[in-house]
Symmetry: C2
Subunit: 405 residues, 2 copies
Amino acid sequence: MMQFVSGGVTAAKGFTAAGVHCGIRKNKSKRDLAMIYCEKPCAAAAVYTQNLVKGAPILVTQENLKNGVAQAVICNSGNANTCNADGLEKARRMCELAGEALNIPAQDVIVASTGVIGQILPIEPIENAVEDLAAQLSTEGGTNAAEAIMTTDLIKKEVAVRFELGGKTVHIGGIAKGSGMIHPNMATMLCFLTTDAAISAEMLDEALHDVVKDSFNMISIDGDTSTNDTLAIMASGLAGNPEITQKDAGYEIFCQALLMLCKELSKLLAGDGEGATKLIICRVNGAKSDKDARGIAKSVICSSLFKAAMFGADANWGRVLCAIGYSGCQVDVNKVQVRFTSAMGEILVCRNGAGVEFDEDLAKQVLSEKKVTVEITLGDGDAKAEAYGCDLTYDYVKINGDYRT
Amino acid sequence: MMQFVSGGVTAAKGFTAAGVHCGIRKNKSKRDLAMIYCEKPCAAAAVYTQNLVKGAPILVTQENLKNGVAQAVICNSGNANTCNADGLEKARRMCELAGEALNIPAQDVIVASTGVIGQILPIEPIENAVEDLAAQLSTEGGTNAAEAIMTTDLIKKEVAVRFELGGKTVHIGGIAKGSGMIHPNMATMLCFLTTDAAISAEMLDEALHDVVKDSFNMISIDGDTSTNDTLAIMASGLAGNPEITQKDAGYEIFCQALLMLCKELSKLLAGDGEGATKLIICRVNGAKSDKDARGIAKSVICSSLFKAAMFGADANWGRVLCAIGYSGCQVDVNKVQVRFTSAMGEILVCRNGAGVEFDEDLAKQVLSEKKVTVEITLGDGDAKAEAYGCDLTYDYVKINGDYRT
C-alpha cells in the first residue's frame, strides 16, 4: 500500500530542514535561504536542465555528486547565480559555508540557486545567516525550506509518500518550486527529495531518470527551459530495508512510489504556474507509441492558443486538433476524439476528427473548474501519456513584463 | 534597382482584385470575401502548412495547382472550413462559384479560408455574393481584398516591389494576413502574391521555397502552426521579360526581389501579431551554420518570457541567453554578446556570456519603441539569420481567451 502522508521533505528518517530570510531578497517577510540535512551521509543522485546555459550551482553540484554521496542541500532564491563571471566561486563558497556550519565536507553539499539571471550573487547575506540556518534545522522545518526556495510561486509544494519495502516502512518526501521558465525535457525547476530507503547511488540515479520522464518532463508552463533546473534526491537508508542494488522487485516498488510522489509534485507545479488560474491535464490514449503519446500530450499542453482558451473557459477544441497536427507525431487525424472533463462533468466535443454538437453552457461550467482534463483518444495503438500545464493569463504577462524591478 | 512601390496585389500587370462583405461574418462593416483575378492563365505555385491537420481548402488548392496553372484566388475569412465533414465539398464549391463568375475552369482557382476551426462553412453567403464580387474586380481593389482576408489583424498588409529584369520593368506584389497561430516551419498564414514576370511554374515553385525559409518561416507570433497556412503566387508574364526557365541570373534577380517583398510582409505580420504592441527582430551573427543561426534566432523570438519582457520594455537579457541555451543549436556560451537597438539608440547588455553594466533608463527608452532589434553576436562562425516576432501582451490573452464568442 502506498499513501500520501504529511511531513514533506523531512518525512523520511534522518532528515531535518530549515528556511530563513538572509537578505538576498529585499522583502524581509520572504525566506530566501533553505537547508536540508541528513544525520548521516546519503546515496545521492540528480538530474539537471538540458539548457546549454547552465547555472554555476549546477556545475558545482555535478562535481560534488560524482561520488554519489551527499549529506546536505543549500539553496537560495532571489538570484540564480547564472551568467556571472564569479558564479563558480560563489557556488563553491556556498558549499563551504554549509559544510562548515554542519561540520561535513563541502563536497557533500548539493547547491542550488533560483531567481534572476545575470546579477552578481551577494555572498555576505549567506555568510551571515548560515550558522543560524543550521541551528534551526528540525523535522518541522520542511515548510520553511519550501517557502525559502519559492520565487513567483504562490503555494508551497511539499509532498510525501509512505510504503512498505522488504518488510520495512519507507518514506519518500520532497519540496519543489516553479513557476515560470518551465518546460518539458528536464525542466524540473528545483526539487529536493529525501528518502529513508536503503538504495545504492547507482540505482537511485536510474530510478530518478526513469521516473522523471513521466512526471517532471511532462510539465510545461511557458515553454522556456530554465538554466538552473535541478532535481536531487538523497537516500539515508535508515528505514532498514535490504539495500536495493539491482533492478529487482524492490526497485520496482521504489520507482512506483517515487513516480506517485513526482506526479503529485508535477501537478502542484503546473497548477501554480506563473499567473495560472487552473491546472490543465492532457491525457492521451490510443497512441502508436509512448513517444507519440508523450509528444502529443506535450504539444497540446504547450499551445499558447489552447492555454488562452482554457483561461477563457472556451471549449475551442479546434486548437487541440491543431496542436495534435503540428506535434510531429504519427496520428490518424480522422480517428481523433476529444473530451473535456472536470469536477463539473464531462463533455465530448470532437469525434472522428470533426466537431460534434455540444451544450456550450455545460462546456463553460466544465472548463471553469480549477482542474480541467482534456482527454484525447486516438485510434492508432495502445500507448498513453499524461502532461501537466496551466492556462495562459493576464497575470502571466504582468509577472513577466517586469520581473526584475 | 529594386524599390517598394504602391499597388499591392494589383501592382503587377494583368491583375485585379476585390473584397466584399458576404455575410460569413455577422459584422456587416467587415469585408469577408476576397477575389484576385488575372486576365490570362498564370504560372502558379504555393507552399502550405506543415500541420498534419490541413484545412480542406488546402487539399483542393493542392489538386488544382498540380498542373502549375491558376487564374484566380477566392478566399473567405471568419471560418477556416477545417475539421468539417463537408469541408472538401464546400471548398470545391467555392472554386466552382468563382469559376462560373469569372468564366474560367474551377480547376484554375486557388481557394483559401481562415477563421474558426470546426464550424460548418455556410456556402449561401458566398453563392449570393460571388457575382457582385467578380463585378467589383479592379486594379484599385487590392486594399478591399487585403481587408477581406483579415481575421484579428489590425492593419491591412499590402506590399509591392518594382525591378528590372531582361530589360523590362517587372512587379511583384501581395497581400497577407496573420495574426495568431503563427510559427516557423511553413506557417505563413495566408499570403497571395502576383507578378507580371515571365517565369515557368517550376522555377516559380523553386523561388517560393527558396525565399520562404528566410522570410515567412522566420516569423513566430505564438508558436502555433496553423492548419490553413497558404502562400500562393501567380505569374502573368505580361512584363514581357524573357521567360525564366532555369536558375540563371534572371532567376537570382527575381528571387532577390521576391525575398525583399516577403521579408517586408513578414515584418508587417510579426508587428501586427495578436495583441502585439511592437515588432521584435532577432538578428544573429557569427553562428556556426545557417541552421544554427536560424535556430537561435527562432528560439529567442519564440520565448514567452522574452516576449513578455519586451512588452514591459525590460532589458532582461538573461532570458535571451536562456533561449539561446535551449535552442538545441551549437554555441559557445562564453562568447555570446547581446545588444538591443531601436530608433532611440543602442545598448550593450551582455558580453562574453556575462552581464555588463548598462544605463537602465536608456535601456527602457530603447525598448519602448515600436520596433526593437535584439542583436546576438556569436563567435562560432560566419552564418547569420533574422527572425521576426512580437511581444506577449495582455491583449493576446484577451483575444484568445474568448475568440469564438
